[in-house]
């Protein structure tokens, strides 16, 4: 698996939602490409030390959202055409992340211009 999933036990977000959300992010960012086989429930449960039914619950959630497809007897794969994030949702998510970044790094930021410049450069 070329990407990782981390579980935050202190988070109020249920574990299955944390797993599903991280897989969704990997699919959206292209780290998990269409057709890629996801680890089996047993393997991921062992790897993350999470109950197998919790992993199954995350996979069911992902399948319902159209991010993965399950082929009987073969496993779970990233969907050939996973859903694209709606524009409004994309903007909300970006705003949320920018706010979070600014909040966490306020002590490092001297000015908006400096930050804007760095963002421009990074892009």
């Amino acid at each position: 698996m070329g990407w990782s999933i981390r579980i935050d036990e202190r988070s109020p977000v249920p574990i299955y939602e944390q797993i599903a959300e991280q897989v969704r992010q990997h699919v959206r960012t292209g780290r998990a490409a269409p057709g890629l086989q996801l680890p089996s429930v047993r393997d991921l449960a062992g790897h993350l030390a999470v109950n197998p039914l919790t992993i199954a619950r995350a996979y069911v959630d992902l399948e319902r959202g159209g991010f993965v497809v399950t082929r009987v007897g073969r496993g779970t794969f990233v969907a050939p055409e996973p859903p694209v994030m709606p524009e409004a949702e994309r903007r909300r998510e970006l705003e949320r992340r920018v706010r979070q970044f600014v909040r966490e790094n306020r002590w490092l930021i001297r000015s908006g211009d400096e930050l804007r410049g760095m963002v421009e450069e990074s892009l």
């Binding site: 579980i7 999470v50 039914l53 992993i55």
Partner: protein, 293 residues
């Protein structure tokens, strides 16, 4: 492990789960009691009709209302199917959610199971409507066709019951609506058809045989004891013995029906769990795997 072996392993884990979580037996008990409560007016009507006699009613009235009676009969049949499906699925969803929560390492109780079933009320009613419609349509077709047609309808009914075997766990665990739940159950059937058939025709038959054997032994004892002890024919002792024996067989039958119904529902849950994780319930129970959920 082959399909039959796996089915046996799943069945053994059902017994283990029932031994540990005895409160699960309340679900089929309440399902049966509520079913009886709903059916009571129908039974009372049938008894009233039997006591007063159909012949006392005006034959002309029947002729004049033939169409209405047919429609009313079909509606009553549908209602019967609907209520039956609804009650059995409601309590089944409650029980299954308890078993799945337990396998997932979460706390479980009778109240939590009922709460889950209550939260799925609309979906359960939708499934009951779908199941009742299919049941009534199949019954209507069966009453209009010949022998081969009846066989075909029975085969379709069997296929329907197998394909929809996992509808209750799908509603309990995934919270899907009736049509999506049927589609999902059908997809899972491809993975678990052997285990389903092995349980239905293996364990189901074994339980029936067990009860038959038990009844035969009790009847044997029932005949042998009066003969050996010389109870007088028509005497009070013999009368009490027969009544006691009847009550014993009846109570045993009810107990076996509850256990059998419970095991079947638990089997739904462990089979579903196997279908979505590829792991047997014993592997969850053994404590070898983490219970973080």
């Amino acid at each position: 492990m082959g399909r039959i072996g796996r089915s046996w392993a799943l069945t053994k884990s059902c017994f283990r789960i029932l031994r540990r979580e005895k409160y699960l037996a309340w679900f089929p008990v309440l399902s049966g009691l509520s079913g009886m409560l709903v059916l009571a007016p129908l039974i009372a009507g049938a008894i009233a009709l039997a006591v007063h006699g159909v012949s006392s009613l005006d034959q002309g009235w029947f002729d004049r209302h033939r169409t209405e009676l047919k429609v009313g009969g079909a509606a009553a049949l549908f209602l019967l199917y609907f209520v039956g499906y609804f009650l059995s699925t409601f309590f089944n969803v409650g029980l299954i959610s308890c078993v799945l929560s337990r396998l997932e390492g979460k706390p479980t109780s009778f109240g939590r199971g009922m709460k889950t079933a209550w939260s799925r009320l609309g979906k359960i009613a939708g499934w009951a409507f779908l199941g009742a419609t299919v049941g009534v349509v199949l019954q209507a077709i069966e009453s209009r066709v010949g022998f081969l047609g009846q066989l075909a309808v029975r085969f379709v009914g069997l296929a329907w019951s197998l394909v929809t075997f996992l509808v209750a766990p799908v509603i309990a665990f995934e919270g899907l609506g009736p049509v999506d739940a049927v589609k999902r159950s059908a997809a899972l059937f491809k993975q678990t058809w052997g285990e389903q058939l092995a349980f239905r025709f293996g364990i189901g038959t074994a339980l029936s045989m067990l009860f038959l054997l038990f009844t035969l032994v009790v009847v044997g004892v029932g005949i042998a004891v009066p003969a050996l002890t010389g109870m007088a024919a028509g005497g009070t002792a013999l009368g009490l013995w027969v009544i006691g024996l009847f009550l014993f067989v009846f109570a045993s039958g009810v107990a076996l029906a509850i256990v059998s119904s419970c095991l079947t529902s638990i089997y739904h849950a462990v089979l579903y769990s196997y279908a979505v994780t590829g792991m047997l319930a014993d592997e969850f129970d053994a404590g070898l795997l983490p219970q973080r959920a």
